[in-house]
């Protein structure tokens, strides 16, 4: 006599899975995808995210390509762009291109974009100043220096 296959009640499992999906959907932060993992930001106790979301911002990651042991493969800092790494001097044509795109979208407006600079702790400040100058020359005037939020000292 053939026995019927026992029916498994899937409801509790589906409940759990939906709870998990909801959790992941809520905690996922697509904005953090602009952050490059090669950049080790310095820490600051008082660095806080802006209270009001900025109108328009561009994230620029500056850091070093390192070997597995943490030593620098190239002595000079590089700007990590999607798909390629360029030197600070090579940024000028890219800044000009970004500006052209901005002006097409906002004809006649002054540049309101904030340049969010995510820089590695060991990048020379002079290199960051050079990069700021390149943006300034094209009309950008708002800059934000990023730092990791440090837990307050007890």
């Amino acid at each position: 006599m053939a026995l019927d296959a026992p029916e498994v009640d899937m409801t509790p499992m589906i409940d759990c899975v939906f709870q998990l999906i909801t959790f992941f959907m809520l905690v996922i932060n697509f904005e953090s995808t602009q952050a490059d993992e090669r950049v080790k930001l310095p820490e600051s106790e008082i660095a806080k995210p802006p209270k009001v979301k900025r109108e328009d911002e561009v994230t620029i990651n500056v850091g070093f390509i390192r070997n597995a042991d943490g030593s620098k493969r190239v002595a000079h800092p590089l700007v990590f762009l999607p798909g390629e790494d360029v030197t600070i001097a090579q940024m000028t044509p890219r800044i000009k291109k970004d500006l052209q795109m901005y002006k097409l979208q906002h004809p006649g407006d002054a540049v309101k974009t904030t340049i969010k600079l995510r820089s590695d702790s060991e990048v020379p400040i002079g290199a960051i100043q050079d990069l700021i100058k390149l943006y300034q020359e094209e009309g950008y005037e708002k800059f934000a220096l990023q730092a990791m939020e440090e837990a307050p000292k007890e």
Binding site: K116, G126, I132, L145
Partner: protein, 164 residues
């Protein structure tokens, strides 16, 4: 003539495609999830025409000089002509000096009018400059859990390029 209603069995929906999709979604969210530490920032306004180091005529200037060794480590932190050292205590002292310079009243008129110019050696590591900016910007109040702002305007002196 009365008709007898026959009770049909409830059709059982096939859950397999939905479970497949739900698992796909869950795997996607699990793989794309990154637990990152929160980031904050320090806003710096550098308008067109105001190059690095150019003074605001209405602002009272405080100069913070940061000297680096060839490796980019801090050798000396100075406020005006006062040498504050090169360790963590130097930044705590800088924080106290800034508070004194604004008259001990954060948020007051001196706090708004005073501008700090950071003049760092070209090769100094970015982390030291962030520490100096933090020390100038204010302090974290343990009681209120808020940041007490000392200085709102911070600017950079022109970069000191190495001669060779």
């Amino acid at each position: 003539m009365a008709t007898r209603r026959t009770e049909l069995p409830m059709p059982k929906p096939d859950m397999t495609p939905m479970i497949d999709c739900v698992f796909q979604l869950m795997i996607f969210f699990m793989l794309t999830l990154k637990f990152v530490q929160a980031e904050g920032n320090f806003d710096i306004n550098m308008p067109i025409g105001q190059s690095q180091g150019q003074a605001d005529p209405l602002a009272q200037d405080l100069k913070v000089r940061m000297i680096a060794d060839p490796a980019g480590n801090l050798v000396s932190l100075q406020m005006g002509s006062r040498k504050l050292g090169n360790d963590e205590r130097a930044f705590i002292q800088l924080n106290s000096e800034i508070l004194r310079a604004i008259g001990g009243t954060p948020g007051g008129p001196a706090s708004k009018d005073t501008e700090v110019e950071i003049d760092a050696d070209y090769n100094l590591h970015y982390s030291y400059v962030i520490s100096a900016i933090s020390a100038c910007t204010g302090r974290f109040d343990e009681r209120t859990k808020n940041v007490v702002r000392y200085i709102e305007k911070i600017k950079f002196a022109p970069p000191r390029r190495p001669s060779n």
